[in-house]
Symmetry: D2
Subunit: 323 residues, 4 copies
């Protein structure tokens, strides 16, 4: 396990709890020491790791997407022995996976990309995983995925799903999506959907919240209890979901959400999802509007808004009154 | 109970199973007979109903929103005795509730609006209810709501929610949202959110589905198993939800969804949600785009698209090739 | 002419310059005096007006849409003599026109709605008018519209337009759109389109402006001269328009548009256009997004954005850093 | 001039009419012969061209964006002599320009990208050009651009524009936007805006057209004359534009636009504009919705729509009736 941050560290612990042996490395020595304390074999460098790994070695890279993942995989590509397996469990762009898999295959190395959902709750609930790579390699790694995954648990079987002619892994919380890149692709779309779901709730709560505005006649104003509304929607409504559960948690703590500034970050997956939609010529208005709402949340006033005011002044003599 | 369709009939049965006595009426005599067979007191007309109801009578109207609900409530308004309670459990527009409550109050009648979610699953799972009306009346009706609601069941308590200083009804699946109209208003926003959530999944699955298109270089095409993807996302992913469960059921039956034409209906709530957003000056791009996607699904080619082609021909000599 | 503001005053002057006699009234006595100075017959009240008008009287109401227009027309409805004509030249909602026309017809009064475009430039360029009402009345008023309209001027005839079998009024800058309400309806859609056009330019200039951002690799940054870009696009490009001319004027004065705050107002027509789209079940993503961009421009941070952050904190432990 | 299609051929003719000497090449020999007939020096290959060009040679490539442009420029890069100038006048992606300029600079060749607007009308009206490249080269080419551009013509000077301290080229219809790539970047945004403007008109006319629907009460239906509406909006309205002129031409021919199927193509620039917006984190809801409307116009029913129906069936037992 290379990269022992919030995700990597917890995954390593869940694997060790499941009986797997872990060689752990991170640039942060304290993180390595902490994991060693929990039973991992510490490594001081990628070179050191190689010496401590079995054959074929399984290199699980769990680093932020981008340069650091790229250079680490390049280094492993140089150091690893034929037959080794390199797993990128981060949030890489799937086209990078396709390229890397091809490059590593020339050295007889196997590349597997694992998109992981479940966030900080994964250690406890298990990790939902979408896996790309060649069949033999993914099959070989099955004990690892099986341990990391949530398992069937208490989630009710989907009516109509026949376990006898369906891949049993999906019910345990992981799938082999297809060749290298497909794992991260499916995870990317997952995140695109996530943006859309979140924005749908956000807009709905926004309208509820502002229902008490003096823009409305007095008899049409309601002072709504958002905390209770989120709670009741968890209970038998059509829009119950885990994201709603999280919203209910936040609103139970503070119905005004005053600790949050209103600036919302976005990671690469939202943008890549729109790129994919455009490449495939699929309309995706909701996913795009969700992404743009986040951009907008980080801007005070856009230059475009000033262009609007300039035109309004031009044709109507309108002078905007700042609000 | 006036109106014994899919919703009204099941609610009456759930109430009777909970020990309540029901006088049942519907224009469809067979529906009345069927419910009588299950233990209800049959009524042959609203007049007949009045004679069979206790004092104060509770008139639960469960009819399609619009003229039929409006005229039925008007008739009850004429027939009912002071102190009676009229409940609209359908999907009425909340401003109609405000108007009706005012009108009925003049006759010393109490008006309560109940927005209900849970669809055809409600009989089994219980109905999630959002209730508007004056406090005394809603409190008086509590035994009814308590029976209809799902109850706390096995749904885990929201961390941070302190049952001692919070309304216990929310955890049982119903809330008193505020004065008349607020129940349907909260339900309306619920449906607006529902449209957004559904469209987010729809767009995501659309991109997954079309990932095998020849618009992409061959190495970037994936032939993805949507049935398994929906299944795995139910299991520990951030986007797990009841709507996803339903999608997984449909995809387990047919991964191509070939029984569906692609034309999608919309009911009033989606549109009213956008009206509310506009009245309150709240941006709601996702909820609106979701509604418009349904309009678009029912149109073959828009006239607007022809206007585009006409302009393209005008400035570039472009001739569109139908696809 | 009732209402001598920026629009009404200028229209009265253009009419007088065209040889028409004007009785002028406004609550603001100075406005009346100023117009009297330019040749109008001053009126001190609606009653006074009636005495000074010929038979049949033509009452042109040019007031802000809403209560003031409504009550003024109601008063005229009481005071006017059978056969009189009431014109609403403001920006009323077209359903109000339909209602008023019906109400006034009962008193044998004719109602005409005139949607007017051209803004503060109309006095000089002439007013583009969209007129609703019965044919006889609109024909009777033709000399008035003919004077107010821009006339064919130097605008080139539309190729393919055969003046012999087409209504000549369109080329002079006014049309009889249909029955009462249709004038304001067409004007309303005009404004809806206007919002969309403006937002398209706004977004484009926004992307140009931000092309110099450090979010991009240095070699991909351009420091673009927006003033010259707006100017060159006026000259033979596909996107030349009057709104672009106005943008070029503003940018010629200040390429940064620093006098504008970025808060942008909206009037009723944008919202009513979306209402119409929804009633007619026509998708209108661009017109809606344009309207919502203005709402958003007037909000610092939305509550919805805080909901997003709350969820992100919930599933990923993400803490948003305000920007 | 390499590439003698609709654009290249007309530009060559306009240049010759302006006194420039043209060596013309196209894979299509007939096109070469036709231009030779109009006074150009014919070339049978790029090699042949080189022999016939002066020093420094100016290679104007006017080919469809993509592989053919790329390979042609690569060949010229091999054949050209130091000091030569290569112009890409097509619709290339601006990052390709940046790359090519760097590559050609290593061989002491100058690269200039010219984004051109004006479509098939350019031969007559002149071409609006946005130019990227180093200052010396662009200045050297000025006589060419000056001939191709529309010139100031009868377009009124922008009030507030002081010709003494502004670049005079903008008023003549061309600008030097910045370094290589910036010409095509500005043109790309121009096209993005064009999509938005077109869609705004399209949605507006769609709502006008469908105002006669039986979804509305009879008194609210209008049978509007779109031909006259487009015409009157050309005359003094705020939304007058060249695109509206083109719409008026099309509607003058056929108010139903029946010759158009409703499938609308898109070229790369619309998509690239959204890519740029995302890279720069600028919200661009209108430009994106415009692009997606075109994708949607080419799809019969989306798979996403079927997903919606599947969910609706799941929670409500709704069966969609195809329309």
């Amino acid at each position: 396990m290379i990269g022992l941050g919030r995700m990597g560290g917890n995954m390593a612990r869940r694997l060790m709890a499941g009986g797997h042996e872990i060689v752990a490395y991170d640039r942060n020595e304290e993180a390595v020491a902490a994991l060693a304390n929990d039973g991992a074999i510490p490594a001081s460098s990628l070179d050191d790791m190689r010496d401590k790994l079995d054959t074929p070695a399984i290199w699980w890279v769990m680093l932020p997407a981008g340069d650091i993942t790229e250079s680490t995989i390049a280094t492993i590509g140089t150091d690893a022995k034929p037959g080794d397996i390199v797993i990128d469990g981060g949030n890489s762009f799937y086209k990078d996976d396709i390229r890397r898999a091809k490059m590593l295959a020339e050295k007889d190395l196997h590349y597997v990309d694992v998109g992981t959902s479940g966030g900080v709750w994964g250690k406890e609930r298990g990790y939902c995983m979408m896996i790309g790579g060649d069949k033999e390699t993914v099959d070989l790694l099955d004990p690892i995925f099986d341990t990391l995954a949530p398992g069937t648990g208490e989630i009710v079987r989907t009516p109509g799903r026949n376990p006898e002619n369906a891949d049993p892994r999906a019910e345990k919380g992981y799938i082999h999506a297809g060749p290298a890149g497909s794992g991260h692709f499916v995870k990317m779309i997952h995140n695109g959907i996530e943006y859309g779901l979140m924005q749908a709730y956000a807009e709905g709560f926004d309208i509820l919240k502002s229902k008490n505005t003096d823009k409305l006649p007095e008899e049409e104003r309601f002072d709504l209890n958002l905390t209770d509304i989120a709670e009741v929607w968890r209970r038998g409504s059509v829009i119950s979901s885990w994201l709603l559960d999280l919203t209910a948690i936040a609103l139970a703590k503070d119905g005004m959400l005053e600790q949050f500034s209103g600036s919302v970050a976005d990671s690469g997956e939202g943008q890549w999802t729109i790129d994919a939609a455009m490449e495939q010529k699929v309309p995706a208005n909701v996913l795009t509007a969700s992404l743009f709402a986040r951009y907008r949340s980080r801007i005070d006033h856009t230059f475009g808004d000033k262009v609007l005011s300039a035109m309004r002044y031009g044709f109507g003599g309108h002078v905007e009154i700042p609000q």
